[in-house]
């Protein structure tokens, strides 16, 4: 504007003023632009654009491949045909033309007639109404006239319809005529499209991804408010919520905004890296066919992290190690999220995400690490000191052996040695080291520990019952050895001084029972004999089953086991400890309830032994030994550890890292470190803290892998963040499932059996597959509840595989437990455990069954009578069919015979019926029946058929044949009639 010059009534010099104005406006413009750019250039946009480009290239390559594939000759020929067709049509052009004209003409007529008809119709409706109206007036004259018009109109309408339909008919004819003429051409064209279709769709998709002008326009700043291609992609997850201070907020996952290909197949293999890879397990996750489709489960439900984040750092990615951290810092600007309590689980712990929904079922299908971790925790007995409120860890018996009678079994000296360093004696034991760990420094503290151990032994022996056992009968060591190796001890026990837990990871079932090395230096032979004969007699709660050993067998085993000795652990002595130290420890406990003077007096009044016993009791309380072992005097003591039920949600700042600074301050690093070095957080405080304030968590001597497995579980113990309805397997039966699985873990069924495709650890001890205990796949579908009930109660009653040297032990289940197992197997197969008696079939199918039984030579493997000794090598035999009727489920046998492999992988039962594409099964017997060798069978069967064709037809149908076989096995076998 025209700036007035400086005058008396002016204050500022206006040229200067304008300069100011100009510069400041310019600054404003620039800053605004900067703001817009800042707001527009989001990292996820860059990534999406990048991915578009990559995907485009991928499609281009695919299109190329498609082009290669398409058979050019074929196309050429078809195009040739098309040309000829067209030529042919040209010849008939004239009449074709004429037809088309007629068609056009007819179209007009139809239209016209249609209009007329509809007009008439509308009039008709009006007059109908008028007639009603007339009726209302009740004036007969009106009524009549109205009726009259109505009638007339109805007629016209009828006529209109007729003309219309006539035209329509004619038109259709003409159309058909034309189509017929052009059919050949059309057909060819269709075939051509079909051939080219794939390619075309690919090319279209490529075109869709081209960076054309409109791409830039649509995604330009400020334009992209309308319909951008680069946009935030989010999914809302009702029922999967975040637990914010007593209010739950449904998740809104935006992960795929950057992980564009996560839920789409085909973006794996080399060249595809995060964030552009497909999920590695699309069969299980994200894909719409998987059990966890993306739009129902999203990502953060399992992986954790800030669901709504659209930025690498803020999403809470957690690096698996320092290298990755450095790399991420550099590539993605990674930062620790101080304010995010639920960061993404580091890759190695991802399976922790399963627990939130699956804990209710004890096991999680196909999450190996987490599952092993759970098993480790049950064996190591974490739940014995820490309350863990999940089915797998609640109302389970104490994991350790009862000490109420330990004095009858071994010596106090051994016990001292053992408590001091269990792994020195049994390298693979689950019993942890409580003493002489890193946070114990100084001679005094070490003396204190000796005093404590000695006192504990004193207490245990003081309370323990002593039974005297006479020496066992003489046994033969070598016979004992192969008993040990063949009857199944090896399913739960090792006998190997070299073994290490980590070597057996993750198959830990063989460490269910103690490693039996050095038994000779530990126990009393007489006790061992009695124990092997009947474990429950010694300890009613023991998980050790009875193998129904004869005295001789037991004696042999004893001889074998006792032979394993180690001089280092024989004629041991307990060290002398300074009585003063012992007394000082005791006084501290006394002072909890007494004044200093009183406590001194009380102590003085005690004898030396009493003091030991007293201190022992207090020490046991201090270390919580009663958590794992039955101990008189601690029947209802409370566990000493902190509850772990929601450990995975504990804010990081509540974990005590003590003076350790080189370990990253994250939840998982804390837990894992704690597993490997339970006392590490005392570092630097050893001499400051009171002796009794020092950490007491024992050292289980975990390997890296074990620690990771356990950590995975603890990380998974999080606050509820999924509504019940959305958790895994909510069927009414799922409870049975959980209970059954608990029993299976507790009694280590998988040490011998393959259950849910896991276990059969005994494989490593028994090489001959024929001798492996059976695979229990589909057990619930295979056997009858009643039979299983009897069998589990008393395995000796039946033996369907007499050739197996492995014995199904007698676990001494009570009815409740057995029923639990029954309903577990049933629940696995969605069946009822018990079913009603089948009714007897007709003679015909029995006869056919008998014949088929012979033709398929079932008896070659299945003893249909008493087993002929040495007939076929034991290992290759199959269960005796005499048991079938009592044992097998009538509704299963036929299906089984039809396709055994689909039920039990690796079964020796061959498939006789080949599966057709339509799912039905074809039977070879129709041909087989003609072989001369089966003539007798043929004749016998023919009696029940009118013709040979009929018989063959019957035999050709797998359903008939299998049913007949089943009936024969059921009714035909007894008495071998």
């Amino acid at each position: 504007m025209a700036a007035p010059k400086k005058t008396p009534d002016r204050h500022y010099d206006f040229t200067a003023m304008n300069k100011w104005f100009a510069w400041s406006s310019l600054a404003l413009l620039l800053i605004t632009i900067w703001m817009v750019v800042e707001d527009y250039a989001k990292p996820w946009k860059r990534l999406q654009a990048e991915f578009r480009e990559l995907e485009r290239q991928k499609l281009v390559e695919e299109a190329e491949a498609e082009r290669q594939r398409i058979n050019q000759e074929e196309i050429a020929t078809i195009e040739e045909e098309i040309r000829s067709e067209e030529a042919r049509l040209d010849e008939q052009e004239a009449e074709l033309k004429e037809l088309q004209d007629r068609l056009a003409d007819l179209d007009d007529k139809v239209y016209e007639a249609d209009v007329d008809a509809r007009t008439t119709k509308s009039h008709l409706d009006t007059e109908r109404y008028q007639y009603d109206a007339a009726l209302q007036t009740g004036d007969p004259k009106k009524i009549d006239s109205a009726l009259a018009t109505l009638e007339r109109r109805r007629e016209t309408y009828g006529e209109d319809r007729i003309t219309l339909e006539a035209y329509l008919e004619e038109r259709d004819m003409v159309r058909a005529e034309i189509e017929r003429k052009m059919a050949g051409l059309k057909e060819d064209e269709d075939r051509l499209d079909e051939l080219r279709g794939g390619l075309e769709s690919l090319e279209n998709r490529v075109a869709g991804l081209d960076k054309s002008i409109d791409y830039f326009v649509l995604n330009a700043p400020l334009m992209d408010m309308l319909e951008p291609q680069l946009r935030i992609d989010q999914v809302q997850l009702p029922g999967l919520y975040q637990n914010i201070n007593f209010t739950s907020v449904d998740r809104v996952d935006r992960c795929v905004t950057c992980h564009v290909a996560a839920a789409r197949a085909g973006f794996d293999g080399e060249g595809w890296e995060e964030p552009f890879r497909s999920h590695p397990r699309l069969d299980l996750f994200l894909s719409s066919s998987s059990p966890h489709p993306y739009n129902r489960f999203g990502c953060t439900t399992c992986h954790g992290g800030l669901d709504r984040a659209t930025n690498f750092a803020r999403a809470g990615h957690s690096p698996i190690n320092e290298e990755q951290k450095a790399e991420w810092k550099h590539d993605w600007g990674w930062q620790k999220q101080k304010y995010l309590d639920t960061p993404i689980l580091p890759a190695q712990y991802t399976e922790a995400g399963c627990i939130g929904c699956h804990a209710g079922n004890v096991w999680t299908a196909s999450s190996e690490l987490q599952d092993t971790g759970r098993e480790l925790m049950s064996r190591m007995g974490c739940f014995a000191c820490h309350k863990i409120d999940y089915p797998a860890f609640t109302d389970v018996p104490r994991p350790g052996p009862s000490l109420e009678r330990v004095a009858s079994k071994t010596s106090p000296e051994w016990a001292y040695q053992w408590i001091e360093a269990p792994r020195d004696f049994h390298p693979t034991t689950w019993m942890p080291h409580f003493f002489f760990l890193e946070n114990i420094v100084g001679e005094l503290n070490e003396e204190r520990q000796r005093a404590e151990i000695k006192a504990m032994v004193a207490y245990i022996w003081d309370r323990s019952e002593v039974i005297d056992y006479s020496d066992p009968p003489r046994g033969d060591e070598s016979r004992g050895e192969d008993l040990f190796n063949t009857i199944g001890c090896t399913g739960c026990h090792l006998n190997d001084a070299e073994a290490s837990r980590d070597d057996l990871f993750p198959q830990i079932n063989r460490m269910h029972g103690p490693n039996l090395v050095r038994t000779g230096s530990k126990v009393d032979a007489g006790w061992l004999f009695a124990w092997l004969k009947d474990p429950k007699a010694f300890n009613p709660e023991t998980r050790m089953p009875s193998l129904r050993l004869t005295d001789q067998e037991a004696a042999d085993l004893v001889a074998y086991l006792m032979a394993s000795r180690d001089p280092a652990f024989e004629n041991l002595t307990q060290p002398e400890v300074d009585g003063q130290v012992r007394d000082d420890l005791a006084v501290v406990y006394l002072q909890n309830t007494q004044t200093i003077e009183q406590s001194k007096a009380t102590l003085a009044a005690m004898s030396d032994r009493e003091r030991d016993v007293y201190l022992g009791g207090q020490t046991i309380r201090k270390y919580g030994c009663f958590g794992c072992h039955n101990l008189r005097g601690f029947e209802d003591a409370k566990p000493i550890g902190v509850e772990l039920t929601e450990e995975g949600s504990k804010p990081v700042h509540q974990f005590d890292f003590g003076h350790i600074h080189d370990i990253p301050h994250t939840r998982h690093d804390w837990i894992k470190t704690k597993m490997l070095q339970p006392r590490i957080w005392d570092h630097g405080k050893e001499s400051v803290k009171d002796y009794n304030e020092l950490y007491r968590m024992p050292d289980f001597g975990m390997s890296e892998r074990e620690a990771e497995a356990v950590t995975t579980n603890v990380l998974g113990f999080v606050k509820e963040s999924v509504v019940t309805a959305r958790r895994a397997d909510q069927r009414p039966e799922s409870n049975a499932l959980a209970e059954g699985r608990k029993l299976i873990t507790r009694y280590n069924c998988q040490g011998c059996h393959l259950i849910e495709d896991q276990g059969q650890a005994i494989k490593t001890a028994i090489t001959d597959p024929g001798m492996w205990p059976p695979n229990l796949a589909a057990q619930g579908a295979r056997v009858q509840g009643d039979w299983l009930f009897e069998y589990l109660h008393d395995p000796a009653s039946e033996s369907m595989r007499p050739w197996l040297s492995v014995r199904m032990p007698t676990f001494g289940f009570d009815d409740h437990q057995v029923n639990m197992l029954l309903s577990y197997f049933a629940a696995r197969e969605n069946r009822q455990a018990f079913l009603s008696e089948p009714e007897r079939p007709d003679r015909r199918s029995l006869t056919v069954g008998k014949g088929v039984f012979a033709m398929l030579q079932c008896a070659k493997c299945h003893p249909a009578g008493p087993v002929a000794p040495g007939a076929v090598s034991a290992a290759e035999l199959a269960p005796s069919l005499l048991l079938a009727q009592d044992r097998l489920r009538h509704d299963w046998v036929a299906d089984w015979i039809k396709d055994p492999l689909s039920w039990v992988s690796g079964t020796k039962m061959p498939v006789f019926f080949s599966r057709q594409d339509d799912g039905s099964y074809s039977s070879p017997l129709a041909q087989g029946i003609d072989l001369p060798m089966w003539s007798t069978e043929k004749d016998r069967m023919l009696r029940y058929f009118d013709s040979e064709e009929e018989l063959k037809e019957y035999l050709a149908d797998a359903d008939n044949v299998t049913a007949a076989l089943r009936d024969h096995i059921w009714w035909g076998l007894e008495g071998g009639s």
Partner: protein
Amino acid sequence: MEALKNLQKSIVKSQIWKSIFRVGIPTDNRKRALAMLGNVVLHLHPIKVKKSGLRMSYTWCMGGTAFFLFLVETITGILLMFYYRPTVEYAYFDMVDLREAVAFGIMRELHRWGAHAMVISVWLHMFRVFMTGSYKPPREFNWNVGVILLVLTLLLSFTGYLLPWDQLAIWAITVGSNMARATPVLGHEGPGAALLQIGGTKLIHVGSDARFGLIAGRTIGNGTLIRFYVLHCVAIPFVAACLIAVHFWRVRKDGGISGPM
């Protein structure tokens, strides 16, 4: 060129234009005066001001700054209100969305930093007025209005502090509001509260004292959020706006922009 000139002329001469802009760009003093009188915003100013009052070195322009920031807060605040739901479920995640998904979420920064700046500028305004002794007669009353505005500014900022509903927010408010427990007579932990009772029934307890009234509950919760939200977005701004008007009016009436009386 000519064409353009004509076009411009015809526009400027048109009735619409004239109806909006009564006086064009002032070229003489009369027009200058008219410009000030004719414009609703500008007529807050007198037609002429003391030269001293014009000097930045004298006024520090702090009053103006404070007022401008008040406007900035109003505008950004209104925009934010479109996305923010004052309930414990949504409040926090709406903040997250402002950061993650909403275009120009920078409004939140503008609003927050603006608030800080406003508090400081109001203090400095008071500081300056004191140093120039501009509270002295006849301006005593306006000084008081100013003090009240200062308090309102603090309250605005305080109430706004809770709305993000993160740890920073609720604990700052907890600390702040805990003092109200001890209000004499009205706070259940304050002196004299025990005296207020009828026939042994205490009138002032944790469920009825000043703090309860402030945060609408025994602990900070949804009630507090709503209450603070309304205070922050409607109640206090309204009062402040009125007082600002009074403040300006009195500036004019009490002898214009401060300067030697």
